[in-house]
């Protein structure tokens, strides 16, 4: 893992470990209880979405949509709905928690047998994904919860003040 990926991955796992790493059979309550510079967290400290009553989404959900659609849609279909050869993440995130998702994205996943040839590559070295992985997770969590509808989110909160700086240092 390169520096940026290690940074993001380590940060992600650490926040989960601190939160007690509860592997949920049903999705944990996604309600945002705290925020830090435009990024929202649930009661266990995991990143989460925020959608207000007019449908306005947090900035991370919006960027998550953009980056998901550029990098993940080619297999997992538009709006996380799956394709003929990759599962629907709207469904998968009903049973996978934040740490599971981070592990799969960083390391990849294989299900190859006589009847199945599903292979997801390791994206641990891919800045286009790892620099935005929390945003992608937040967006998909919102899709899975049903809070974020299909398509491009309409209104979104303003870009957090340190977002561009963090983005630039990660993308290099």
């Amino acid at each position: 893992m390169t520096r940026y990926a290690r940074y993001f991955f380590a940060a992600s796992v650490a926040s989960c470990l601190m939160a007690g790493f509860a592997r949920a059979d049903k999705p944990a309550d996604p309600a945002a209880v705290s925020s830090d510079d435009g990024k929202y967290f649930d009661k266990d400290g995991r990143p989460t979405f925020k959608v207000d009553k007019d449908g306005k989404v947090d900035f991370y959900s919006y960027i998550g949509y953009v980056r998901y659609t550029a990098n993940c849609m080619h297999c997992h279909g538009p709006d996380g709905l799956g394709s003929t050869y990759a599962p629907s993440l709207v469904n998968s995130l009903k049973s996978l928690d934040y740490a599971d998702v981070m592990t799969i994205v960083a390391n990849g996943k294989k299900d190859v047998s006589e009847s199945s040839q599903l292979v997801m590559p390791s994206f641990g070295e891919n800045k286009n994904i790892m620099c935005y992985i929390d945003a992608i997770y937040i967006y998909l969590r919102g899709r899975s919860d049903g809070a974020i509808p299909r398509g491009r989110p309409g209104e979104h909160e303003a870009k957090p003040k340190d977002f561009s700086e963090t983005e630039d240092s990660c993308m290099g």
Binding site: R67, H74, G77, Y85, K110, N126, N128
Partner: protein, 602 residues
């Protein structure tokens, strides 16, 4: 690499003798297929036309399923089988199984080839693990595997005669194209435009797999095999190192221009024709210049690879309008003059008609009225912008900039047509074209390159043009005038290659899984049958024991399996709009079946 014989079969000498392949059968007929279907497009001209005429517009409604065969693979089945003598060769997506079926014995399996390939190649295949079919020549079946192994199989036994590696999947290069065999050479190209590969077309010796030449889509003239001063671009000689100079620095090294489409050949001029794909990345701001020679029609000398002429259709692409679609070679009259034509239906929505001997541009017209990104292609030879599209700024993702969502661009990135090949009937003089009727929003942004990782750099969403609900049309096109003659709307994109026949019947498949027969003159539907899965394969026909058959592979997948599986929504429908457009997964499911049709026997 392993090869599986079905033992019981091959130990039976009597059986073997009944399926011996006629020696020296090789299609060099540029016009049409007859009883056999020996090249991917039926003939080297790419016409997908058959002279068979038992099935006619009068009796096509009586067609029945004659037999079926399952490939055992549940992925997108593009491409088509071949029929050589009494044997049909059927291929499958990854793991790229090839079967030889005995037509004298109810399609019994004569041999089966199943390569062992590293499954890590699967995720570097953009958009499903498709393969577009095998080629035949010199008693061998040629297959370009996903892992870029080009393998030659003994057509009688399936034994591997030779195999060579054409590129490196670790860098995102994969093999999905159908090879083409001409005389003593087999031609292949490469996939990986979304991974920053540098495309190429290469010729290998059919005898031993030695590479004879390789011409890259971009780079110095020594790589592209462009001959400065001799190679022409719209009748003008090309200057030295014109490709390199159209890029910033050494960006051409990861510049894309993949070559996974169909190839065709003209024996009169010994030229091989094909197209190159999109420049990498999809974010055009990151690669200033014309990005030559992505998005280009190529005419190369078949023996040396030297470029006779080329024409870049979409300089500095900003929409992913790959130029890889088929090049169909036909002889027709324009303005009373007999011409040797090359006709190409580009992803960018323009149907191009060129003189294939000189590369002169004769017609460029929209083959879907929805196309809006350019008003026209400049056809004035005296103009500074001769041959270039007149791009409308509001649909230019370059003009609107990074992190800006450009909306309502038609066509979508999958093009007015993707790889699904058209057919031509010399009897009606018309082209039969399976099309997409889909528009998009496109937002480019900065992207970083990592070898073997996706290198895309744009977000897009797709939906039918305003006011329409159909996502496809099957059209008849006159390439002499650039006019649509008739158009049959289809609920989904038509992602199946067409077949034209001398019986006055044209065939194609639909994403719901229908095999359809329509009247070549009017487009009137004559017959439909719903096969086990959506059709993205190409229809062929052949004659065996005096009877005409029509065959097609079903197996939904490919780009269509991503974009349309869950259905499209219209981002501009406004709040409160219900539903969206039809979801393909309500009509069909995964499969991998060959279905063969014939008229009932008296």
């Amino acid at each position: 690499m392993s090869r599986t014989f079905l033992n019981g079969l091959l130990t039976t000498g009597a059986l073997l003798s009944s399926v011996l392949i006629a020696p020296g059968v090789m299609a060099q007929d540029p016009q049409g297929a007859g009883k056999e279907w020996t090249t991917p497009a039926g003939s080297l001209s790419g016409q997908r036309f058959s002279t068979l005429n038992q099935i006619t517009a009068e009796n096509a409604n009586k067609l029945q399923v004659a037999w079926t065969f399952s490939t055992g693979v549940l992925r997108g089945h593009e491409g088509q089988p071949l029929v050589i003598g009494d044997v049909m060769y059927v291929h499958a997506p990854f793991p790229n199984t090839v079967f030889a079926l005995d037509l004298n014995n109810d399609g019994k399996i004569l041999w089966k080839y199943e390569p062992k390939q590293d499954p890590n190649v699967i995720p570097v295949m953009c958009c499903d693990t498709v393969n577009r079919g095998v080629a035949y020549g010199d008693g061998k079946i040629f297959l370009h595997q996903a892992d870029t192994t080009l393998v030659a199989l003994d057509a009688k036994t399936g034994a591997v005669v030779w195999s060579v590696k054409t590129d490196d999947p670790a860098k995102g290069a994969t093999g999905t194209d159908a090879p083409l065999v001409v005389k003593d050479k087999v031609y292949v190209g490469v996939s990986g435009g979304e991974f920053g590969v540098r495309g190429w077309l290469a010729a290998y010796d059919v005898k031993d797999g030695k590479q004879v030449w390789r011409g890259y889509s971009m780079g110095p003239d020594s790589d592209t095999l462009i001959q400065p001063g001799k190679t022409t671009n719209l009748d003008k000689p090309v200057a030295a190192n014109s490709s390199e100079q159209s890029w910033q620095g050494d960006q051409w090294k990861i510049g894309g221009g993949a070559t996974w489409g169909w190839k065709s050949y003209d024996p009169q001029t010994n030229l091989i024709f094909y197209g190159s794909g999109n420049p990498s990345t999809w974010n055009s701001k990151q690669r200033p210049g014309d990005n030559k020679y992505s998005m280009t029609i190529w005419a190369r000398d078949a023996d040396t690879g030297a470029v006779k002429w080329l024409y870049q259709m979409t300089p500095h692409d900003q929409w992913d309008y790959d130029g890889v679609n088929e090049m169909v070679l036909v002889d027709q009259e324009i303005d009373g003059k007999p011409r040797h034509l090359l006709v190409h239906f580009d992803r960018n929505g323009f149907g191009y008609t060129l003189d294939r001997d000189s590369g002169e541009l004769l017609v460029a017209a929209k083959y879907d009225p929805a196309v809006n990104w350019a008003s026209k292609v400049d056809l004035d030879p005296k103009s500074e912008t001769y041959g270039r599209p007149d791009v409308l700024p509001q649909y230019s993702t370059e003009h609107n900039g990074e992190d800006v969502n450009t909306t309502n661009i038609c066509p979508a990135a999958l093009g007015t047509k993707d790889e699904q090949p058209s057919a031509f009937s010399p009897e009606t003089g018309l082209f039969y074209v399976p099309t997409n009727h889909v528009c998009m929003d496109y937002e480019p942004f900065r992207v970083a390159y990592t070898a073997g990782q996706p290198y895309v750099g744009a977000t897009l969403s797709m939906y039918p043009p305003k006011g329409d609900t159909n996502m496809g049309n099957f059209i008849a096109w006159d390439a002499r005038t650039g006019k649509i003659v008739w158009s049959d709307p289809e609920q989904f994109s038509v992602w199946s290659g067409a077949l034209a026949t001398s019986g006055g019947v044209v065939f194609y498949g639909t994403l719901e899984g229908y095999l359809k027969a329509v009247d070549a003159k009017t487009g009137k539907e004559l017959y439909r049958f719903k096969t086990p899965s959506g059709i993205i394969g190409n229809v062929i026909t052949y004659e065996h024991a005096g009877r005409q058959y029509v065959a097609v592979l079903s197996g939904v997948g490919g780009w269509a399996g991503i974009g349309l599986a869950a259905g499209l929504t219209d981002p501009h429908a406004g709040l409160g709009a219900v539903g969206g457009y039809a979801a393909l997964n309500q009509y069909t499911s995964l499969g991998g079946t060959l279905t063969v049709f014939a008229l009932p026997q008296n």
